[in-house]
């Protein structure tokens, strides 16, 4: 016998758009993080109207409700930490409006990131935020997490490309914030909502800016014999005021794992490589490519390869974008950090990460967005070993503490979610968190929408982190 909630859900969206059997729910216990949480049920709405009713049902049954896109998130943002209804937006995946002339698009939240770019490529446009999971992740998820990606160094993260949103508030009201025309009068609610990790409203429509595809792209691979040299190079490129479109670092260990997997011709005997991209009008791109190559050589780059054509370029990027998958072939699990540091502190931070790895006896692979100081150390461990899991968290916390001590932050693009909520007090005082929580309480007063995210729970740390039934390593960044 179905519960009254299930009966109401089925009559709203149809029985085949509601999952509730334990074996069906299994997939939705996970996202791309090491966290797990089982929902009571999963629903697949197809219209905004249905989402409004779902919100009302959550209220009626006093049950938590959580939005979810493709489940590629890396901080547990889309997990039902307190159970309840998970609303999966994968069937709301229509591009509602393409306005090439004004470089705008209106999309439903379930549209896959790279599908939007593909749909506007014919007009020489793309959606600039490009998370490594862009072939799977959704625009709605990007909006919730304010996602970044390799090319957000020059082009900005999701929030820089979102103009307006249609929201279903926890009260069940439907409201539009922002405007497709720039500078809508009033407070920047769009700016508040993007990156609010699904804790203020469910988003049912997104108005985005589209960006012109650059005329010329130059992709360089700089090969270094020491990690220090590679990091000094990044600091120097930044200090000289050159903003590459992308500036990615892979250390030697990660590179060998990648090379074994994708066979892109990466050197197996180096300490680090930088994958650099500059773009723009041809003359500017060529000038910057020459300048960047010079800086690499000044810092003892053994070799600087320039991709000759788009095939070579794609191969280099294939290495970067499949790096997490490559590591997944080697280790049963890994823990990805997302700390950010000022770019001048890159060399010292890399040395510290190396030291922490040795101290705890873990192999740490480094692959990250060096250009904006956004680190993704991958700590390899065995998920079945509870002691290892505890030590991974300890090592990870030590890395994060170092990032904060350098004037950095705990998450650059993955979000706080349920993974880093306990770390929030490292950056924010109780009073500062209280002011932030006023926003959540203003929009989400009952707390039924995506509960126990971002804000630290009052419980002790041990209770918060889930048991080491960690997610298997999957190809994401």
């Amino acid at each position: 016998m179905d519960s009254p909630l299930l009966r109401d859900l089925k009559s709203l969206v149809g029985a085949d758009a509601v999952l509730h059997r334990p074996e069906d729910l299994l997939l939705y216990e996970y996202d791309g993080s090491v966290e797990t949480a089982r929902p009571t049920c999963v629903v697949f709405p197809t219209t905004t109207e249905q989402v409004v009713h779902l919100m009302r049902l959550a209220k009626k049954y006093d049950t938590p409700i959580v939005g979810r896109g493709a489940g590629t998130g890396l901080s547990g943002g889309a997990l039902a930490r307190k159970g309840g209804i998970v609303v999966v937006f994968s069937k709301m995946n229509r591009i509602l409006e393409l306005d090439v002339e004004n470089q705008r698009a209106v999309v439903e939240p379930g549209v896959v990131n790279s599908d939007l770019s593909a749909a506007v490529a014919h007009a020489g446009l793309h959606f600039a935020p490009d998370p490594s999971s862009q072939k799977a992740c959704t625009i709605g998820g990007n909006v919730a997490e304010n996602s970044g990606g390799p090319h957000t160094l020059a082009y900005g993260v999701t929030t820089n490309h979102v103009l307006a949103l249609q929201l279903v508030l926890p009260s069940g009201e439907l409201v539009r914030v922002g405007s497709s025309a720039v500078d809508a009068p009033g407070y920047d609610l769009t700016g508040l909502l993007v990156g609010s990790e699904g804790t203020l409203a469910l988003v049912t429509e997104v108005t985005v800016k589209l960006t012109r595809i650059p005329e010329c792209v130059k992709t360089l691979l700089a090969i270094f014999d020491t990690i220090d040299d590679s990091m000094e190079t990044v600091a120097d490129i930044t200090a000289r005021g050159i903003t590459p479109a992308a500036c990615e670092m892979l250390d030697g260990w990660t590179l060998r794992a990648v090379e074994d997997y994708v066979h892109a011709g990466f050197p197996r005997d180096c300490a680090a490589v930088l994958l650099l991209e500059v773009d723009g009008p041809r003359e500017a791109a060529e000038q910057h490519a020459a300048e960047v190559a010079d800086i690499c050589k000044t810092h003892n780059a053994r070799e600087v390869r320039v991709a000759k054509d788009s095939r070579e370029r794609d191969l280099l990027w294939k290495g970067r974008k499949n790096a997490f998958g490559a590591v997944g072939r080697i280790s049963s699990s890994y823990y990805v950090q997302d700390g950010v540091i000022p770019r001048t502190k890159l060399p010292a931070t890399l040395r510290q990460i190396d030291m922490i790895g040795k101290k705890y006896g873990f192999q740490i692979g480094n692959i990250f967005h060096a250009g904006d100081g956004n680190l993704h150390p991958l700590i390899l461990f065995d998920q079945r070993d509870a002691d290892q899991f505890r030590r991974v968290l300890a090592a990870s916390d030590e890395i994060i503490q170092f990032c904060i001590d350098q004037g950095g932050s705990i998450t650059g693009e993955h979000g706080v979610g349920m993974e880093k909520d306990r770390l929030m007090p490292l950056l924010f005082s109780e009073a500062e968190l209280e002011v932030m929580a006023r926003m959540r309480n203003a929009f989400n007063p009952t707390g039924l929408l995506n509960p126990e995210k971002i804000f630290p729970s009052k419980k002790g740390c041990g209770e918060i982190h889930s048991a080491p039934l960690a997610a298997p390593a999957r190809p994401q960044a």
């Binding site: 993260v157 820089n160 809508a184 005021g241 209280e434």
Partner: protein, 459 residues
């Protein structure tokens, strides 16, 4: 004991002013505060706000006082909080291109500090000789450089502020990429001091562009100028600025009001009094500059430009006037009324049709500055501030606002004579999301003591 003596105990008597002259200098729309207080730290701001809140008095925060007339007049106003003593650079790391400053620092002084390291903030905003960084952010004024760099929301990394109930809060940080917590600092941009007293602002800085040039194409009609704007948008070119000026702007820029913006006279042959002018700035090495020049010449010719000029856009006299369009316009009529309109770029022509129609019908002269991203500044320049002018301007404004709304845009009146505010719809058509904004306001300023009444919907 009255409020002022309590605050004097905290700040020192010399930082609390109650003399008539100081109070008059801080008046807004005829409302005069009962004291002007000048904190030197965030802790002092907290104390001021708590004391003021406990006595249920209202605060207006100010810096150089260049934009206090923006928005509606405050419904209550007891204490002016002058931030000009909080003018330190808290941290500047040129190697990392990040900056943390107190709000009272003058933008001009800050720009000099950044220039020493070959860097800048892309904030060529009006009133630039006097304005503070805090006032620039709180007012949300934009700059020509937004064409390439975006607006403050794209490079403000974090902020510290004091809420209306006296809690020191912060959001964001000092790194260029960060998703830790809600982006509360974005709410402060353009909030006119209604959410919090800003005590610190963190920015991403940018390398100062070298080899800057300007290209000016003059057209007989705005249709042709917009045609050129559209073609540039479809090209691979990435200019830093792109603004279109109406006929009549030349006269303003050459006038005494224009002379206030720059020491040098407005150079001849840049703008003309009977033509529309598209002005665009770009930078790069010699081959880049040559590319821009040849492509812009070609596009201008295809769009039927009457003539073109290539100049160093850094040409201080021309650049300063472009940046200072608003103050120049304000000084050009006893009752200048400025509309700011946001629309999709494809609707710019239709908006200008409506503007022209309304101006002609109600016999209100005016000039326009149009940003390529889809923002129009329409300066209505009535000959006097009399009743008849007021009626004409009011009709003209409301027709333009109706047209902007009908075209999917929005139109506000950031500047007009104080006495005209009750007659005009300062914030434009009410939007349903104002109800959500009210929630934000109530959360940050539960006692409604921060600039009450100035913001949208009288918030």
């Amino acid at each position: 004991m009255n409020g002022s003596s309590q605050i004097a105990n905290i700040l020192g008597a010399e930082n609390v002013k109650t003399d008539m002259e100081s109070l008059a200098a801080h008046a807004i729309a005829g409302k005069t505060p009962s004291e002007v207080v000048s904190p030197s730290s965030a802790a002092e701001v907290v104390e001021i706000v708590r004391h003021t809140a406990s006595t249920k008095r209202a605060i207006v925060v100010c810096g150089a006082r260049t934009k206090l007339s923006m928005g509606l007049a405050p419904s209550r106003y007891d204490v002016a909080v002058d931030m000009s003593r909080m003018n330190r650079v808290v941290a500047y790391d040129p190697g990392d291109l990040t900056l943390s400053v107190e709000p009272g620092i003058k933008l001009a002084a800050l720009s000099r500090t950044l220039a020493e390291h070959g860097q800048m903030l892309p904030l060529g905003v009006p009133f630039s000789a006097h304005t503070t960084i805090g006032g620039t952010i709180a007012s949300g004024v934009d700059a020509p450089q937004r064409q390439l760099y975006g607006t403050a929301r794209d490079f403000l990394l974090g902020a510290e502020f004091v809420t209306g109930d006296g809690v020191l809060a912060k959001s964001g940080g000092r790194v260029v990429k960060n998703v830790t917590g809600y982006d509360l600092h974005k709410l402060l941009i353009g909030s006119l001091g209604t959410l919090g007293v800003i005590t610190k602002l963190n920015f991403k800085t940018f390398p100062f562009p070298t080899n800057v040039r300007g290209f000016i194409a003059r057209f007989r009609s705005y249709e042709s100028a917009f045609d050129m704007r559209d073609r540039i948008a479809r090209s691979p070119l990435l200019p830093m600025t792109l603004d279109i000026f109406s006929p009549g702007v030349a006269r303003l820029f050459e006038s005494a009001a224009g002379a206030g913006a720059a020491r040098e006279a407005m150079p001849q042959g840049i703008l003309s009094n009977d033509e529309w002018a598209l002005t665009t700035g770009y930078s790069g090495n010699d081959s880049s500059l040559a590319r821009y020049e040849s492509e812009l010449r070609k596009v201008a010719a295809e769009c039927g430009a009457a003539s073109v000029t290539i100049a160093h856009e850094t040409l201080p006299a021309a650049w300063a006037r472009k940046r200072e369009f608003i103050p120049i316009a304000l000084a050009s009529s006893p009752a200048t009324t400025i509309l700011k309109i946001g629309v999709l770029p494809s609707k710019l022509k239709l908006v200008l049709n409506a503007v022209g129609g309304a101006g002609e019908k109600h016999q209100v002269p005016g000039v326009a500055m149009v940003r390529g991203v889809g923002v129009l500044y329409i300066a209505l320049l009535p000959p006097d501030a009399g009743d008849e002018s007021k009626q004409r301007v009011a009709k003209c404004v409301s027709e333009i606002q109706a047209a902007a709304t009908q075209l999917g845009g929005h139109a506000t009146v950031p500047w007009c004579p104080d006495a005209w505010k009750p007659t005009l719809n300062i914030w434009g058509a009410e939007n349903p999301d104002w109800a959500e904004m009210r929630k934000v306001k109530n959360a940050f300023d539960p006692g409604a003591i921060l600039s009450p009444g100035r913001f949208v919907g009288g918030m």
